[in-house]
Amino acid sequence: MKMSRILRFTWILFLIAAISRVAYSQPAPAADENIPFLVTFGANSKTAWGDDDFCQIFFCFVPASQKAPFYIRVYDPDTGGEHDEAKGDFNTSVSFSIYGGKGAFSDTAAQSIHLKGNFKTGYLLASKSFGADARYDMKWYTFGPFNPSEGEYSELLGGRVLKVIAQGVSGDDGNLYRYFLSSSPTENIPLEGGNFFTYKYHFRLSDDQKHVSQIYPYVDDKTISIEISNFDWDNDGIVRIFSVAKNGLKGAVSGEDNWSVSRFPIVAEEKNSTVEIQFIKNQTQQIKRNNVVIAVRNQYGIALPFFVVPIGGVPVYSPKIRMK
């Protein structure tokens, strides 16, 4: 390779590094999950398109050590353009609202799988609705700055929590987007110790059949069984469960516009750890633009949170060797 080409290549890399930083963590979906986008459809959409309630609630965790302002960035917040799913012309408005203060997290209405009651509890810190707007298509929009004190303090989590609600206001298109918890308004700089989590994941599966996606619900010490519910999977592949004690148990996969439920017992080794739920695409038939919803509940019917950065790391199966 000629020296000039080497120099050119090095220089380009330098420029890219100087100008921006690639998001390695604290995005939602996380890179590890291999989920391309989150999805929220307009209020007038059909559930069969893969969104059961046109509302996605994420929680943003900021550790107590955070003293500087932080930002919640949304990638491609508008409904229109390359990534979003048009149903006819783009006519959808989706609002993004961020709540803090008392009740933002502790009020459990927002943690349930089937939203009931007032889940918009807390103090509305910021809100913006996006229709089809080229200014924000495939670009980052920044909410904030936010004061860590504006989040609701959770002693359990050891930090403060803000609630991010993406809700379809009108229209019937699908808005595909991503989040990033950043310490900078203009760049995706991960917040040290920060995390996103949700109790019900609305997302777009990868179109690539080779891709395997995974999510990481956290199982606490009170869980003795989990119930994995998925919606409108369109029979696109299989769902498998991995943990320190489970090595790829299969779960039921829903069809179109319906829910399917699988239950799995939780053994002692699995308590207080993360379970991995893998989604392996249908290898025989390529299904594209498949939007799905998934949730996990414990034996009490209480939803378990999915952390984009798995608590305790990705689980590794530890087989029990029996001696005859």
Binding site: R8, P69, G101, K102, Y123, N147, S149, P185
Partner: protein, 1051 residues
Amino acid sequence: MFNRDLYKSNPPQAYFRLTLLILAFFLISVKSLSQDYNLRHFNADDGLPQPFIYTVSQDFKGYLWIGTGDGLARFNGFEFENFTTADSLAGNFITCSVTTSDRMWFGHMNGRLTSYDGKKFKPLILSGNVQGPVTAMAVSPDGTVWAGTHSEGIFSVNFNGVVEHFPVPGVIIKSIGIIARNELLLGTDDGLVHCVLKNGSLALQEISGSPREKIAVIKKKLTGDFLIACEEGIYEVAVGEKFHFPKIVTFTQEMSGIQDILQDQKNNLWVCTFGAGLVRFSPSNGKYQQSVYFNKEHGGISDNCKFIFEDREGCLWAGHFGEGLTQLTPKTFFVSPPGRNVLSLWFNRQYKWLGTDSGLVKTDREGTKTFVQYKDKGVPADKISALYSPDGKELWIGTGSHGVYRLDIKTDRVQSHISGDDILSNSINTITGKGDEVWIGTKKGLCNISVKSGDVNWYSLNKGGLPHNYVNAIFVDSRNRVWVGTRSSVLAVIQNRKVNKINLNSGNGSFELSAIAEDASSRIWAGSLGKGVFMIDKSDSIANLTSKEGLFSDYCYSIVSDKSNVWVGHKGGLTKITWEFSVKPVGPMDDKVAFQFNANAVLKDSGLVWFGTDKGLLLYNPAGENLKSSAPVLNITAVKINDELVDFTKEIVLPSGNYRIRIDYLGVSLKNPSMVTYQYKLDGYEHWSEITKSTSTNYKSLSEGTYTFMLTASDGDGAETTPPLSLTIKIKKPLRKHWWFFPVLILIVGFLVFGYVKRREYKFLEEKRKLEKKVIERTAEIETQKAEIETQRDFIKERNFQITASIKYARHIQNAILPQNDLIYGLFPNHFLLCKPKDIVSGDFFWIAEKGSRVIFTVADCTGHGVPGAFMSLLGINLLNEIVNIHNITKPPIIVTRLRERIIESLQQSRSDSIMSDGMDMTLCAFDRKTRELEITGAKQDLLLIRGNMREVIKADRFAVNVEYDTYKEFTSQTIKVESGDVIYLFTDGFKDQFGGVQDRKFMSRRFYQTLQLIHHLSMEQQKIELEKKLLAWMGDNEQTDDITVLGIKF
């Protein structure tokens, strides 16, 4: 930017250049904030509880209050004091604040309020249902506080603290504006709402035409209309029957929303944004034009500005979101690019002409571009000490040694050159003029040139009478008088070509005058080198201000007046003198640079004042000064009495005594806290103190009295607090110093004494009563005893009588046993016998018996006297009768021995008897009438013989007639031949042992013998009488000591 050819030929070099360019692109071009404002930044390191600022306000004591997400801070100009829920705040997260006439109110994230009355915080719960934050607050003209919440509507708190709730369902309140007492504007998430309070309920009305977006801020203008801030623009709201919403500002920059707006005293509009920082819009032709950014891109601290506040002194406070607080104080001084030593200056609209020490230059108005160097045009590269233009067309140029040049301003050509005869007259210090007249000050005098006629007149020491030839300064005043300052302390005034002189030197020493100016009141100001400035008013009174009065320095190089001040240039700084003679030194304009203000290098230009300094041009912009002067707000911060803090908010009254008192105080000035000075006094006791910067004072010993401590403060601009702050301390007088003390004391003492006496009297009477009672009792007792005693006495008397009668009878018996007088007379006719018993009966006895020719006779003294002695005497007599008369023993020693034996036998005495054995002392004689021999045996009783006139004592044996335990001795005898006339005396010891005489002593043997010797010649009867007389005389009042028996026999 990118050279493809270079790339092809030399790629590394091309890429290097490109990289540099891109790096240059990324380098933020810093637009310095210090251009217009002095900035002072505060963060958590400086004491703020948190760098997220939500609200800033100022209380009536001048303190600045900063609400953050984690506590409330109070700033006094020097330091922060933080408060939390531990200090009774309703919450640590403060979202908004307002100030009423008597207190401050804070809203919290938890939906509660806190009020502060200057002493304590008091939390207030609006309603138990309020969960969300208090989002906005406002105060209506009647003092009612309105608090808007996130989703629970709006609350009012009236003057008495009564809370009323007005629910506004479905509305998120973001801001509140007060139109009138019962009329509000509410800024919501979806536009503006008009509210009218009527009959206890709030009627809401949407306002047509209002922007349908979030109204984050509502601020009332001085005109009464409002400004509202929406997402990306600011509207004016004209309130009337119909609302109008002209948009006055549109933001085109990228930002996340307007957070706050402020219209300052100077009508600038300040806008706080997230993303674009703080932006200032200045009014221009009725519109606002964006003029200054305060954000990171332009050298600011933060891109996220949350709140803006203007304090009472005109300083701005920008609260950042995560970056603390910034104080912005308008600059009044600006420095032009450095480099030149500017000795003189003149401007027109397009250009500046600057005289330096190496020639004249012409630059653009900004001073950045030099157009002409006149050394190339005929003006020498000399010190250009003076520039003057009489008409704007021609410039007169004074040089250091080459005289004066006249320059055509339009063509930049030198028109003419005026020179003197010598170097001194060519050394130009100053040029000025008026109309046709030009005045040139040289080192050799003053030159006056008439431009039109060309006439030249010189004034010097010798010509015209200038005080000195070296002319430093010239000034033509509004009355066309020419004032001349020279190298002397005499100020010259030329009027009608006549020089008048004013001597400014009132004391010793000399100085020179360096600069002259006239103020708007036609007062003349003359600066000197060494004596400060002199002011001469219209009545020709002269005042002198020096460094003692606050002048920066006594050496003044330039002087100029603007509309309201006089500016004096020194080395290192300026002095500002106001019309009221407030003197304020202005230190270095730049922290790192000290300016030397050059003589006479001043120019007024369109309201600005330019100074020529050794570091370049310095611009003073009066617009930077505060429109209104605000004296510091005085506060007493602590009072300690004898080192203990006291509550000084209440009246201080102390008991009498001596006290150490310390008073801490602070004049709050946020603009320039370190320039605040104080004066204080104890009214009536001392004068005002020296001006001091100390914030405390001590009084070491105050005693009784009422003390009013008075305090005044001035800020850096000389604004003084009026009236002075006062604090009264009363120390009570000691009781003794009250007029009523002694009368009361006397009364009290009197009462006490009276009481004491009365009590004593009472006690005495009581005692007396008791005693009397006792006496009565005792008397009764005694009476009883007396009766008893009398009874006993009578009994004893009776018994005594009986006993005495018995004893008297016993005497009869004794006498009967004793030999009768007839017997004694028969045997011894010349004798006397003196017998005087002590009691009735006697222990002494006399016995005589005749046995043939022998007469045996004795005088004996038995043991004891009275009855026991009488018994012994009876025994003795009986035994003698037995021994002599019955047993016919006539030898005295045998008789006495036999007598002893018989006594022992009779009394049953043995050797075991007591030492005091009973018996007798005796003298027993046997007289043989035939032989005339007298045989004498004495048992402890001597015999006295007087023969002739001589006496002889016949000594007896030294043992008595009784039992002897130690030895048994035989009695002896002595025989004497009696002669006629011899007298012998036998006697017991009664007479010798009788007490009496002057010295109450015993009669003693010697005196007894002498007495007998003296009377022996008398008849026996007479001797007895004499002895009795002697005895009585000796005894006196004494009782008879013992029985007395004396037998005298004369042969």
